[in-house]
């Protein structure tokens, strides 16, 4: 076997080149933006909307002549909803593909691991898809949040409850980092506003049955039921509410604010309230154009998963244009004080942590199979119907 050593080595070299070499040749010297996000695994669905918006953004900016006069190219990988794979792929994006800019994966867990990689390489990472505050609180200089922080998700709840003099709630959420952040935030609000939290529970990812939660809800009789969950869980919750003829006065979940919910829950999803951070009807900067293009390309209205992706890319492009450079430190310095308006609303970060503080939350209600904004008043498109009409009173 040693006679063939040179040949083996040559083959190994070739293999290494094939494996670790950049997969695409350079064309017209584009600006490369690297993203690894879930195409498979339990976040594949939500990450899909995020990805579509970013791909749409690329098409739109390229139509307008690109960024700094160069075309934009995305380098996309599947991180399989696995934080470890995400970390490795960002390592790859930075060192092998040598991308110019980075946008974070979808979901807080993968953002947590990939932000550590970006930090190590002193590369700016636009956290466009991770809501958890923990990710930002680690004090990583190069991770800047454009996604809405948890506080934005929950801020509409207290005013709504005050308006109807509702004073009790239960929280039933999927057990993941953002949900736990949200519970903490809600508990704080509840303390200030004298809201009784009757029960706070987490279910593991992959749960499909909510019989016990519903039984408990029926027993405790909360005014408001809050779930930080993904669309499938929101769908299954309202279906099971309906099937067991249970209904809280208000049902609020971020999972409601997605197209999947509207389609899959059908009539059962009517009147459900969604925490949202973005709606296509919002009169925010560039939103009309984005929403129109999104519907034209994908055939459905973008939800906030998509809005996050578009807003992140927008902020990134703006600072690049403003500084006229791809220098990571310059970009990061600019972001310290950079404020702008995106489809999500106002963008502003806390310079020390990179935490997003500009984006505000919305509440929407499903009406006639469409999402209508009910809070805050300046964006309102419809008056809410509360308490939720009982199942038997619906046609």
């Amino acid at each position: 076997m040693f006679q063939s050593l040179p040949r083996t080595l040559a083959a190994l070299g070739l293999l290494t080149a094939v494996l670790f070499g950049a997969p695409t040749a350079r064309a017209a010297d584009p600006i490369k933006i690297g993203i690894a996000l879930s195409m498979t695994g339990n976040l594949a669905d939500s990450a899909g909307h995020y990805r579509k918006a970013i791909e749409l953004w690329r098409d739109m900016i390229n139509q307008k002549g690109g960024l700094l006069g160069r075309p934009v190219e995305l380098v996309l990988y599947d991180e399989r909803s696995d934080p470890a794979t995400a970390a490795r792929l960002y390592e790859r994006l930075i060192t092998v593909d040598k991308v110019d800019l980075l946008i974070a994966p979808w979901g807080s867990a993968s953002t947590a691991t990939s932000s550590a990689v970006a930090e190590k390489h002193k590369r700016l990472l636009i956290n466009a898809g991770g809501a958890s505050e923990k990710v930002q609180e680690r004090g990583f200089r190069y991770t800047v949040q454009t996604a809405a922080p948890i506080s934005a998700y929950v801020e509409g709840i207290a005013p709504l409850m005050a308006k109807y003099k509702y004073d009790s709630m239960v929280m039933v959420s999927r057990d993941f980092n953002a949900a736990r952040d949200m519970s903490a935030a809600l508990e704080k609000i509840a303390k200030e506003k004298n809201i009784k939290i009757l029960n706070s529970e987490y279910f593991p990812a992959g749960s499909t049955d909510f019989s016990s939660n519903i039984a408990k809800g029926r027993q405790l009789g909360p005014d408001v039921w809050v779930s930080l969950a993904y669309p499938n869980e929101a769908i299954e919750l309202v279906r099971q509410f309906r099937a067991t003829n249970y209904l809280p006065k208000v049902f609020i979940s971020n999972g409601v604010s997605q197209e999947d919910f509207l389609k899959a829950a059908g009539k059962d999803g009517e009147y459900a309230i969604g925490m949202s951070l973005y709606e296509p009807v919002m009169k925010t900067k560039g939103n009309a154009e984005f929403a129109k293009a999104f519907v034209a390309k994908y055939g459905y209205e973008p939800g906030y998963f998509a809005g996050f992706g578009y807003a992140g890319a927008t902020v990134l492009a703006e600072v690049v244009t403003k500084t006229g450079s791809l220098d990571q430190d310059k970009l990061r310095a600019e972001l310290d004080t950079y404020e702008t308006d995106t489809v999500l609303g106002h963008h502003k970060i806390e310079p020390k942590t990179g935490l997003q503080v500009g984006v505000k939350g919305l509440l929407i209600q499903v009406r006639n199979g469409k999402r209508e904004i009910i809070w805050p008043t300046e964006f309102k498109t419809i008056d809410e119907v509360l308490p939720l009409p009982a199942w038997e009173q619906r046609s």
Binding site: P83, A109, T113, D175, Y202, P204
Partner: protein, 322 residues
């Protein structure tokens, strides 16, 4: 004499990688070495003792959490890894005593359930583990330390397997795999040996889990107890050759390389393509690549006691009555 040479070559290769590879190559090798160590560990109990199971992530996840918690309270990551290895051993001993009473598919499924129980514990004991939030750690500056630690573990596992393969203990384990009752009748203390092999197979996963947490600087239940980690490990061992010295290494390297190649080029198809490759291997090389190559007369790969191995790998249910 060839096996030690191959091991030395492998060690040498590991030593030179950091000199030439960039950060990504290193990150790739970290992942690869994690799987090499897991594959060798699984091979001990699944390959040699014939107790195949789907619960190795129990120890991997346990190690990740033990290590992460220690590191959070200020323990050096190397010490944390050592403690995590110990935790794997300590949990595996009583667990083995109980679970190894099960046989065949029952042991396999039972251990899968055990991993899910630990997964639930990681979520449920949120006072300690922070539940679904996960544990955040301070990242290490570079990967060299972790890489070196993992490389040492991988080489130690390889050498240990080689020694085992040529030892009385290894022979006794093969006897258990072949026919446990007969082995017992021959005076082999099967229960003790099985538990020893099971416990030994839990040490490296514990350490590797902790190192993985260090590498990611973050751990949450779904990463620590991921079913994909489990199944990928098993697929590697089977692909390479169950109960062989070089099988797990060949399987791990090959699958990692193929994986890497496929998912950067066919992100939308790679999962299915990997499935096709595994399927093809099962159908055409059911004894793994190591045995396949040996059978084709490639003498570079040493396999001692070949005849015995062939009998042992024979299909179940076709035990001769001659």
């Amino acid at each position: 004499m060839k096996a030690p040479l191959l091991i030395a070559l492998f060690a040498l290769l590991l030593a030179v990688v950091p000199l030439f590879g960039g950060d990504y190559v290193l990150a790739f090798c970290v992942q690869l070495l994690v799987f090499v160590s897991l594959a060798y560990s699984w091979n001990l109990i699944g390959g040699y003792a014939g107790y195949t199971h789907f619960g190795q992530v129990t120890f991997f996840g346990l190690g990740a959490y033990v290590g992460a918690l220690l590191m959070q309270s200020g323990v050096h990551w190397l010490l944390a890894a050592a403690a995590a290895a110990l935790s794997g051993l300590l949990v595996a001993l009583p667990l083995g005593g109980v679970m190894l009473r099960l046989r065949g598919p029952f042991f396999a499924i039972g251990m899968y359930g055990m991993a899910r129980v630990f997964d639930s514990l990681a979520l449920g004991l949120d006072d300690i583990t922070q539940g679904g939030t996960g544990l955040y750690l301070t990242p290490l500056g570079n990967l060299y330390g972790i890489y070196a630690a993992l490389a040492v573990i991988a080489v130690v596992m390889l050498i240990a397997t080689y020694r085992l393969d040529n030892s009385r203990f290894g022979l006794q384990l093969l006897a258990i795999r072949e026919d446990e009752q007969a082995a017992e009748a021959m005076g082999i203390r099967t229960a003790r040996l099985k538990i020893a092999a099971f416990a030994a197979s839990a040490i490296a996963p514990g350490a590797v889990g902790s190192l993985y947490a260090t590498y990611l600087s973050y751990i949450d239940p779904s990463t620590a107890f991921g079913s994909m980690t489990e199944l990928t490990t098993i697929a590697m061992v089977l692909l390479g050759g169950l109960g062989t010295v070089f099988g797990p290494l060949i399987g791990a390297v090959l699958m990692s390389v193929v994986n890497e190649f496929l998912w950067s080029r066919f992100p939308e198809l790679y999962l299915g393509l990997v499935g096709c490759i595994i399927l093809a291997a099962v159908l055409f090389m059911p004894r793994g690549i190591a045995s396949f190559v040996v059978k084709r007369g490639w003498r570079g790969l040493p396999v001692p006691r070949e005849h015995l191995r062939r009998i042992a790998l024979r299909a179940r249910g076709a035990v001769p009555h001659v």
